[in-house]
Amino acid sequence: MIKAGIIGLGKMGISHCAIVNAHPGVNLVGVCDTSTFVLEAFKKYSTLTCYTDYFKLIEKETPDCLFVATPTRFHYDIVRYALEKGIHVFCEKPFCLTVQQGKELVEIAEQKRLINQVGYHNHFVGTFREMKRLIKSGIIGEIYHFHGEAYGPVVTKEKSGSWRSNRDEGGGCLFDYASHVLNLIQELIALPVSASGTLLKSIYSKGVEDAVYSTLFLENGISGQLSVNWSDETYRKMSTSLTVVGKMGKIICDATELKIYLKQDEPAEKLTRGWNIKYTTELSIPVAFYLRGEEYSAQIDYFISSIESKRIPEINSFKSGNNTDKVIDLIFNDSKIR
């Protein structure tokens, strides 16, 4: 049994907590948060051991791995401490507030050969995983454009909010919604190396942006657009999509379906000329416990199996999280030019 701890019991932390606790290969030895309200609920209704201080959790429970789901500004200190203690770490996204902090964590994790993963869960959504495979296979030919989008109804009224309305604490749509799309672009197509014409729009929030629009240039010469808005109430929940256009076809993907248009038959892929649709029902990753989506359990299964098999994970490493932080940085810097 792998001993795990969870630091931070916000929305993602609680979700991880339920999934980890239900995982047959894991013993959840402790959870940690500073909110009296949340801890009282855990003490009263769960059998989990609760801490308000993560140093104590680590010292008393000696976990093999930690899930860090605190507000972003605490990631660096907690993850660094855990890595120095030789603990494998799953860290929520975005990874760190500065590129330098993330770089240090990547180096420590690699040097100590510890399993490290960030929570960009779209890589465990069946449709996006298949899209990645199809892009790498080259079936749409030379790619000349992409369009990465995410929309949802997080901030739809003017009012003061939590840490998410403060940029220095990791708030704003760029760190939150847009980071998912940037990570998909970087892992499915190529790493963005510059940004142009960036618009960070505050719609209802004060101090942070609610929408991000930008033109991105990737390291392999492909360019395309980013369009993200978390104040769009025409969406019931967060909806992320990526369109990639090539000389031989086009792929449009979201969490529910994958639409592939081809100029010619691809018998090896069992795809034909014109539109081909693949649905999440045939692509989703089977899981033993389901909460909100297969991807949340699948990413935890992947992390745990990496620890068990001592395999350095190929998906969602700290390094990939650090790369996304770099892209966030360059978009933010570009926005300041105007």
């Binding site: 109804p153 997080v154 939590s162 979201d254 529910t256 649905y279 989703s284 416990f289 909460l291």
Partner: protein, 286 residues
């Protein structure tokens, strides 16, 4: 329970298969009259149970039902709460306490908070009861014989191992609403074990049951074994596996498990509704 429970996903742009389809649905059902028209077709086809989320717009549909008592004689609603996205988006933006402040009725939040966080923390059940009452308000004077907790909430509580919450929910729904508590889940075998472990026997459980094992966590074999061997009142949902299965093969599969009491499904057109009704009548035991 009736053999067919008519669902509401199609009215609120919930498509598990396509975001595009969701938008088409939300345009089609923009006006409440469009929803009511479909509900009337359902009633016309001899079905009388509407299983729906406690979405704000359902409150307006309930007004219509109350205003036309003769037309909706014998009509039942199975509420499913909470409408999770409403709370999830609020938690993302405002944190737990901010979200509670927004959704607890009147000054109750302030009253509880005045007692201090520790006090408030200890009064979770009171808060749960207040939130249930707030969500149930829209169904006043409407027959709600079964009241469900949504799968996000059930599966969260299940994963966290907070079994006593189920006990308190069960007790409150029976006592206050004189109704049967129901549970929606994506983890049927695990939930059934957990409910039985805290003395909740023969529960109403609505879960994905379909021929291709879609959203049947742990695999189709353990679901089939549970359906054959365990005592509970199953409702099958996602029987078409989000559209991956044709209606006849989908319902034929459900018919192999005589213990299944009801099928939950939603559709937007009379012909689809009638087709599913006829198949359920053909394959499900009388």
């Amino acid at each position: 329970m009736e053999k067919i429970l008519f669902g509401d996903n199609q009215f609120f742009a919930v498509s598990h298969l396509s975001d595009e389809k969701s938008r088409v649905q939300s345009i089609r059902f923009k006006e409440n009259s469009a929803i009511i028209q479909v509900l009337d077709q359902v009633v016309g086809l001899g079905m009388h149970t509407f299983m729906c989320t406690t979405h704000d717009r359902i409150a307006e549909i309930c007004d219509h039902i109350r205003d036309n008592p003769d037309h909706y004689k014998g009509f039942k609603i199975y509420p499913c709460m909470p409408y999770a996205h409403k709370y999830a988006n609020a938690v993302t933006e405002l944190g737990y306490l901010g979200a509670l402040r927004q959704y607890l009725p009147g000054n109750i939040f302030t009253t509880l908070a005045k007692g201090g966080m520790a006090f408030m923390g200890k009064d979770f059940m009171k808060m749960m009861e207040l939130l249930i009452d707030a969500e149930m308000k829209m169904f006043k004077k409407i027959d709600t014989p079964v009241i469900f907790i949504q799968n996000v909430m059930v599966d969260l509580i299940l994963g966290l191992g907070m079994k006593e919450v189920f006990v308190e929910y069960d007790r409150y729904i029976r006592k206050k609403y004189n109704a049967e508590p129901g549970y929606i889940t994506m983890n049927l075998p695990f939930l059934l074990d957990t409910l039985e472990s805290v003395g909740i026997y023969n529960p109403v459980i609505c879960s994905s049951i379909n021929k291709i094992g879609f959203r049947m966590s742990g695999g189709i074999e353990i679901y089939e074994k549970t359906l054959r061997e365990r005592k509970f009142r199953p409702i099958a949902m996602q029987v078409l596996a989000a559209g991956a299965l044709g209606p006849e093969e989908a319902i034929e599969y459900i018919g192999r498990f005589p213990q299944i009491e009801s099928v939950l499904f939603g559709a937007s057109t009379r012909s689809h509704i009638k087709q599913t009704r006829d198949l359920v009548n053909q394959y499900l035991r009388p």
